[in-house]
Amino acid sequence: MTEYLGLIPLSIVALSAAAAMLAEAFRQPGERMWIAGLGLIGLFGAAIASGSLWNSDAHSMGVIRSDNFALFINIVLCLIGILTMVFSNEVIEREHIPAGEYYALTLFAICGMMMMAAATDLLVIFLALEILSLAVYVLTGIRRSSAAGAEAAFKYFLLGAFSSALFLYGVAFTFALSGSTRIEDIGMALSAQASGSPSTVALLAVGLLAVGFAFKVSAVPFHMWTPDAYEGAPTIVTAFMSTGVKAAAFAAFARVFLSPLEPLQAHWIPVLSAIAGITMIFGTVVGVVQTNVKRMLAYSSIAHAGYILLGIVSANRDGKAAILFYLLAYAVTNIGALGIVALLGTGRHQHDELRDFSGLWRSRPGLTGLMTVFLLSLGGIPPTAGFIGKWYIFSAAIQRGHYWLAIIGVLTSVVSVFFYLRIVVMMYMTEGSETERPRVAAAALAGLALAVIAVFYLGILPTRVLDLALESISTIL
């Protein structure tokens, strides 16, 4: 029985996804049904299950390991899922998104993400990657009438499939190298060969795996899909995938690169350092000229991928814990910011251009205040979660001696503040446009309140969560 303990959180989410599908199937035409509730039950259940598995380090069938690292990511994913669910109800009704499919796909995606964070076998990671990717491709194009959505989904699908193929190719080389796809076996095989320079096969394997992950976390130069997919997808889906996919992909990235591939550090750290630097610079510099808020936040998410990569190239204890903390901080912040954009949209009007935000302060002072907090947190200004996340990531990088990357990091943060402030300027300092803005439901407001409390909690009293993050990485040291 203990064999299956590690599967409990993701099974709960999978069950609730199936329930959501059935609910849609048995729904009478015109009957209103709160399908999000099923998802919420599943997600709360998974979060509680993850909490009670803490420190149990449950292995399942040798390929899933619910260690604290995976459980931490699980809880982050549940939080992302819960916030998505509470924002969704009105939004999908206004945008005429089919509810059953939407909730089921979102839940299946979360299931794939949890699996990805817990997988200890490269093939299972691939499987999880495909589960979450297929769900997210469909979610991107779920507004069938929208040409932009279809284009975004198609682009995302093609490039995603391409990157999956590269990843699989990397898995094949790894298998050729070590005779196994299990992470611990690969690690042992590599450390046995560690003496002398590594073979070409080893370098190819590492390179292809890195490319596969870099696609998913949208690091430059593998970021091409990100702006289009984020812009074309319904805003609520953008909020979900910008945080969820990133968390899952970085979890697997860290698990694969920071333990079994450690013997090859000297070879991949310089390459990933360069990618991290370019990603931070490119994401912020291109973000500056955007006039569409979703596109701007897409480039900002590219830049944030660069910051999190700093944690990977630091390859030390603090770096690993910093990745976890940053993913959590980024999740609550970004889903809050994009959630507000989604909540302000109507079916006809996306409310995602910069000018749509002009004078928001007068008509929606509360929402404007929340949006300001989220934007300042994205910019890394104290006392918010974003500041502590950046501080921790840069500390890890400096500890490793990556002074230049830290300097690039802080300077690009300043540049990014410029474009976050463009939204703030629009909201507060520009006279209002008569944009039609819908009411925000109580459940969504509660979700926003939760996110903003989390942002300040992580920013002012981060000790508890930092300790948890440090506890979580003991198995991938």
Binding site: P365, P382, P383, F387, S395, I398, V414, V425, Y428, M429
Partner: protein, 555 residues
């Protein structure tokens, strides 16, 4: 407890204001909000006075220290305390915030609730900057200060407010973030050196750290640039005129009165004591820019057609004096600098209020629009004159003490700097008096000025305390210099390695500045544990002009 109370009282008041103001912009709640905000700021001011009253003037240590573990895994503490250097900056902040609120009483009507909220939040964060001893805590307050100020300029400012606000925040933030890297680097260096391996952000710990010369040099530069941008020292001053001119009166008062001092305070509290040999190495260069700034600021101020811009450039000039005094690193220079920080806060804050009063009446700040105001508003002109005289350092007023001490200290260090800087004193008289004359004397030519009302009771409440403080500080400097002195001496000991004779001179207690600043009685330079001069840098021996000989070695 009293320090946390002082720091967080305005913030609590700010949140209270949000609640009291209702949702949205409610003009009917304006009065309640204003009164509440003013009351909170006055209570805070009284608390800062209480702090001064209970302060032990004979001690160089931090007082009212509060220490709580905050993020123990990284050695981050909530560690606050006050010494003679920060004490008066706290009192100054407490003094200026109610005046700033009062100065906006009739001019700000757009969403008063948020205006008061931001002003009080700003006060909290500035006070936090002055009490923090933990570098992490300090950085959080330091960075957060920008946000309320950004909104104050951007929402309630004049025509080009958005441009000025964005320039202000980006410019000053770009400087600060490099300091963040240096702070982290410093804490990591501590972690490597300490047996436990945990980092520390405690200033007192980090001061005892020995760094390699390249590291010390880069860290010092990162700190110094962050602070010098804030001061702002020439050539980093370009954000200041924009920010000052576009900010509402209350914003200008706080910006000039307190925020600029955060830069000079940072130098004397953090940059110099943490990196003494790098500080000594770069001090002559910083002083060169300070002197250029003194003269340049004065010359540019002279030709400004806009009164606010004139006062803004005069700040560049005055802050140049402060930086020069800090670089001299002797008792006269340092005490003069700290004194001048306070003077500048009072007199420039006063000038911005005066300009704000004119601007409220006529909605223009151009000097050419005025002239002959003496005929219509004599009381206003009298107040204007007194504040002008305080700003140009008339003997008997506060500015004189500060500038005199700085020039004295500068002269003891390097007479050339003092000679050039002294020309700034003359130039300041030129540009200030010339402006005063063009605005207030001569024929009343502009018909729009004929019916201007004189000072209202509210404006009396603004100018009377300002002038009273300016005169008091000119007549009783000892009341302010005495509490400063132990901390000043300790800072000098830490930075230069000189030590002061412990016994006071015969005839009771005297200020060190009046008996040669201890310069005469110095034993040879003490090798402090933790301090290793880098190769090529001679430890300075104490002579009558202890720094000029050493400074030449580096040039």
């Amino acid at each position: 407890m009293i320090l946390s109370l002082i720091v967080f009282l305005p913030l609590a008041g700010a949140l209270l204001v949000l609640l009291a103001g209702g949702s949205g912009d409610r003009p009917d709640r304006e009065r309640v909000v204003r009164t509440l905000a003013l009351a909170v700021s006055l209570v805070t001011f009284v608390a800062t006075l209480l702090l001064w009253w209970r302060f032990d003037s004979s001690s160089a240590d931090y007082q009212f220290v509060e220490r709580h573990a905050w993020i123990p895994a990284f050695g981050i503490q909530y560690l606050v305390g006050v010494d003679g250097i920060s004490l008066f900056l706290i009192v100054l902040t407490g003094f200026l915030t109610p005046l700033a609120l009062l100065s906006s009483w009739d001019s700000v009507h757009k969403n008063v609730k948020m205006f008061s909220f931001f002003l009080l939040a700003l006060e909290s964060s500035m006070l936090g900057v002055f009490v923090s001893i933990d570098l992490f805590l300090f950085y959080m307050f330091w960075d957060f200060v920008l946000i309320p100020m950004y909104f104050l300029i951007g929402i309630w400012g004049y025509e080009r407010r958005v441009y000025a606000a964005v320039k202000f925040i980006l410019y000053t933030m770009a400087g600060s973030v490099l300091m963040l890297v240096a702070i982290i680097g410093l804490a990591m260096a501590w972690a490597q050196a300490s047996p436990t391996g945990t980092p520390s952000f405690n200033l007192l710990d980090l001061q005892s750290l020995t760094l390699s010369w390249p590291l010390e040099k880069w860290f010092f530069l990162a700190f110094a640039i962050a602070f010098l941008i804030k001061v702002p020292l020439f050539p980093f001053h370009t954000w200041l005129p924009d920010a000052h001119v576009e900010a509402p009166t209350a914003g200008s008062v706080i910006l000039a009165g307190v925020m600029l001092k955060m830069g000079t305070y940072g130098l004397v509290r953090f940059a110099f004591p943490l990196f003494p040999s790098a500080a000594m190495h770069f001090a002559p260069w910083i002083a060169v820019f300070a002197v250029i700034g003194i003269i340049y600021g004065a010359l540019v101020a002279m030709v400004q057609p806009d009164m606010k811009k004139l006062v803004a450039y005069s700040s560049v000039s005055h802050l140049g004096f402060v930086v020069l005094g800090l670089c001299a690193m002797n008792v006269q220079g340092l005490e003069g600098s700290i004194y001048q920080m306070l003077n500048h806060g009072v007199s420039t804050g006063g000038l911005f209020m005066i300009v704000g009063m004119l601007s409220d009446r006529r909605h223009t700040r151009l000097i050419s629009e005025y002239g002959g105001l003496k005929a219509v508003m004599p009381r206003f002109v009298a107040a204007f004159l007194l504040i002008t005289l305080s700003s140009i350092a008339l003997p008997g007023m506060n500015g004189f003490i500060g500038e005199f001490l700085i020039l004295l200290g500068g002269y003891l260090w390097n007479s050339k700097f003092a000679a050039f800087a002294a020309s700034g004193v003359i130039l300041s008289a030129v540009y200030m008096l010339w402006m005063f004359q063009r605005v207030n004397y001569g024929e009343l030519t502009n018909p729009k000025n004929r019916a201007l009302p004189d000072l209202t009771p509210r404006e009396w409440a603004l100018v009377v305390p300002t002038i009273a403080v300016a005169i008091a500080m000119g007549i009783f400097p000892v009341a302010f210099l005495r509490p400063m002195e132990p901390a000043v001496k300790r800072t000098i000991e830490r930075v230069t390695g000189r030590s002061f004779a412990q016994t006071p001179a015969a005839g009771g207690w005297r200020l060190a500045i009046w008996n040669g600043g201890g310069v005469d009685r110095q034993p040879p330079r003490r090798e402090s544990p933790g301090f290793k001069p880098p190769a090529g840098v001679e430890p300075r021996t104490a002579t009558r002009e202890p720094r000029s000989a050493g400074a030449k070695n580096h040039d």
